[in-house]
Amino acid sequence: MDLTYSPAEEEFRARLREWLAKTLPDLPARPDPLDWPGRRAYDLGWQRRLYDAGYGALHWDASPTQRLIFLEETERAGAPYVGANFVGLLHAGPTIAAEGTDGQRARWLPPIVRGDEVWCQGFSEPEAGSDLAALRTRAVRDGDDYVITGQKIWTSHAEIADWCELLVRTDPEAPRHRGISWLAMPMDAPGITVRPLRTLAGPAEFAEVFLDAVRVPVANRVGAEHDGWRVTMVTLSFERGTAFVGEVVACRRTLGALARTARANGRWDDPVLRRRLGRLNAEFTALWRLIQRNVGAAREAGGVPGAGGSVFKLRYSQARQELYDAAAEVLGAAGALDADQEWTADRLSSLAYTIAAGTSQIQRDIIAERILGLPKGR
């Protein structure tokens, strides 16, 4: 057991920190959340700067420890969030890097890391949420194309995406998990309709995507035909791995801000609230340590995060909701009921954490069956 970093890692951290200190003051102003083209330009611009400085492909081309250092330092410096590059850098990119052909890697990865192209994710469907394998969007082979009809939901950044990592059913006769394929779909193909989705937290980056006889070349399939489920699992395990590192760092910063705000507005005098914040301090510190342990496990497994990500995800999504419940107490009625307050808006968003990317119920099944080896129920 060891919490020290190698000289190379320390140097990586120092250089990155120096670069961030130099670069961040020059960034343009953040765009309005409803200005989609502005957000695209801002997020891609940030990715371009990372690329130019040599940090572009870190999400799948570096060691887990380097990635950890990168996410930690960017968050600590208050650098922009990955934003519109999220799916490309953390989902589609790693999948293509792991499962794509040389040609596919050459076609799709450089534009992602250079900040030229935006990806979105077409996995969930109205009738296939927790039960992703129930997806119905059909792809019928027609010459060198698939012809695709169906509907996707919870597709973030669809309005400004160039590509969509799409799961489709290529063999309706096969068992549920066996007839699925993974495609890269250009978002300008005819037959695609994007409808923004409003959430309980207000306008968000999600959309519904309707597909009406959309033609996608067979060459855009990553992995073997009908093998999309396995390919997808790789992607999902990335989502449950280090993707949350920056968020945990941010939560710890928020926790400190909560304490200082409570001290300033007098709520610090309530020992129940104070002790709750103390308890959360232990919690988020431990979550951070758990990520560090998981990084070690991922390094051993060749970079692919394991089921330990489910353990982290379950506890973290709960802790994040507790954090923003505590924030509501710190703010008091006038703040907790004011949707313009940043912490109040974050409280609303936090409600998705126990649902998105596998509900807590599903995660507990995964832990019980895959880690603890309890008999599969149904």
Binding site: P126, L197, G332, A334, L337, D340, S360
Partner: protein, 356 residues
């Protein structure tokens, strides 16, 4: 001794449910979400149906019923997510002309923190801290501001009902205002059905005669009834969804994880209902404090569990789940604070006045 509604009370409750279903169905609800100005025609219709005049004597044109009936009716209003200053309407019918009939809309706003100085005329500034939130500021013809006397603060003896101290000026004061007078600042209300403003300053005129401790107690109880109705509705919504939605080839309600969430939701409702109904009968402050505490818990936690059962579909704006959660959060902040409530309930253990 029977804590269940009588046949007459059940008829009143189902009549209210039918009225609300007819006049404030899902379409109206969703329209109100986008444009939350009060529907004055609906307000008058509620007035005509006796919603506000429920407890006024029949001689004064009221329905002549009591607090238990008001609680049952408010449970229905909470179930239907009916917006508007309902509690104020119920408590000020017969006090402010036109309110009983639904012709005049009146608001109630707590501006008092305990520890205020002695009564003085003149403008009064509301501190940056608690209180001062005003529901539907654009819809009220009149506003009554309530100062002081919260649970656990000075005057808590009277409010908390722990000792038998007489009600008095020390327990809170009420000021009439027309809605143009108080200085307010806008708040982007978390509840789309309930516009909010914060009162920052208001003219402190001569206090008006109003039994403020009773008003606070009844306001807390009626708010608890609204929470109860919401909590009961979210169980129904969760059960409906779980019985319909299929994943993994079966209805999700056949999964124990979903079942047990729903079971715990029902338990919260039944506990809160027991406390709220009993408090409406004993009309004792301590019972109200406990009932509000449990109804707040039931409403918030049930809305969250309902959201969990609904999964992603519950996270959309179009689903009604979030409306229940946001309204429940809002009501939690009204008429009593959790820390004070728990302190009052703890203190009562020492005096041994727990009754049976």
């Amino acid at each position: 001794m029977d804590l269940r509604p009588t046949a007459d009370q059940r008829a009143l409750q189902s009549g209210t449910r039918e009225l609300l279903a007819r006049r404030f169905g899902r379409d109206r609800l969703r329209a109100a979400v986008e444009h939350p100005a009060l529907d004055r025609a609906l307000w008058r219709e509620l007035g005509a149906a006796g919603f506000f005049a429920l407890r006024l004597p029949e001689a004064d044109g009221g329905v002549g019923l009591g607090l238990p009936e008001a609680v049952l009716v408010f449970e229905e209003a909470g179930r239907a997510l009916l917006p508007g200053p309902l509690v104020a309407g119920q408590l000020l019918a017969g006090v402010v002309p036109g309110v009983a009939e639904g012709e005049r809309v009146v608001g109630l706003c707590e501006v008092g923190s305990y520890g205020m100085g002695p009564y003085e005329m003149g403008a009064y500034e509301v501190g940056a801290g608690g209180g001062g939130l005003w529901e539907h500021p654009g819809d009220c013809d009149e506003l009554i501001l309530i100062e002081g006397g919260v649970a656990g603060g000075p005057g808590a003896d009277a409010y908390g009902g722990v000792s038998g101290a007489a009600y008095g000026d020390a327990c809170g004061r009420a000021y009439w205002n027309d809605p143009g007078w108080p200085v307010q600042e806008p708040v982007c209300s978390i509840d789309p059905l309930t516009p909010l403003a914060r009162v920052t300053s208001y003219p402190r005129r001569a206090p008006r005669s109003l039994d403020v401790p009773r008003l606070r107690r009844e306001a807390a109880l009626l708010t608890a009834a609204l929470q109860l109705g919401s909590a009961a509705r979210t169980v129904e919504m969760a059960v409906e969804h779980a019985g319909r939605r299929e994943q993994f080839g079966v209805r999700i309600g056949s999964f124990q994880a979903v079942k047990h969430l729903c079971a715990e939701m029902l338990i919260r409702v039944e506990i809160a209902r027991s406390a709220v109904y009993a408090a409406s009968l004993v009309d004792q402050s301590l019972a109200v404090v406990g009932a509000k505490l449990l109804a707040d818990e039931a409403a918030v936690r049930n809305a969250r569990d309902c959201l969990q059962v609904h999964g992603g579909m519950g996270f959309t704006w179009e689903a009604d789940v979030h409306l229940h959660l946001k309204r429940a959060w809002l009501r939690v902040e009204q008429w009593q604070s959790r820390p004070n409530a728990e302190e009052v309930l703890a203190e009562a253990l020492l005096t041994g006045n727990v009754g049976v």
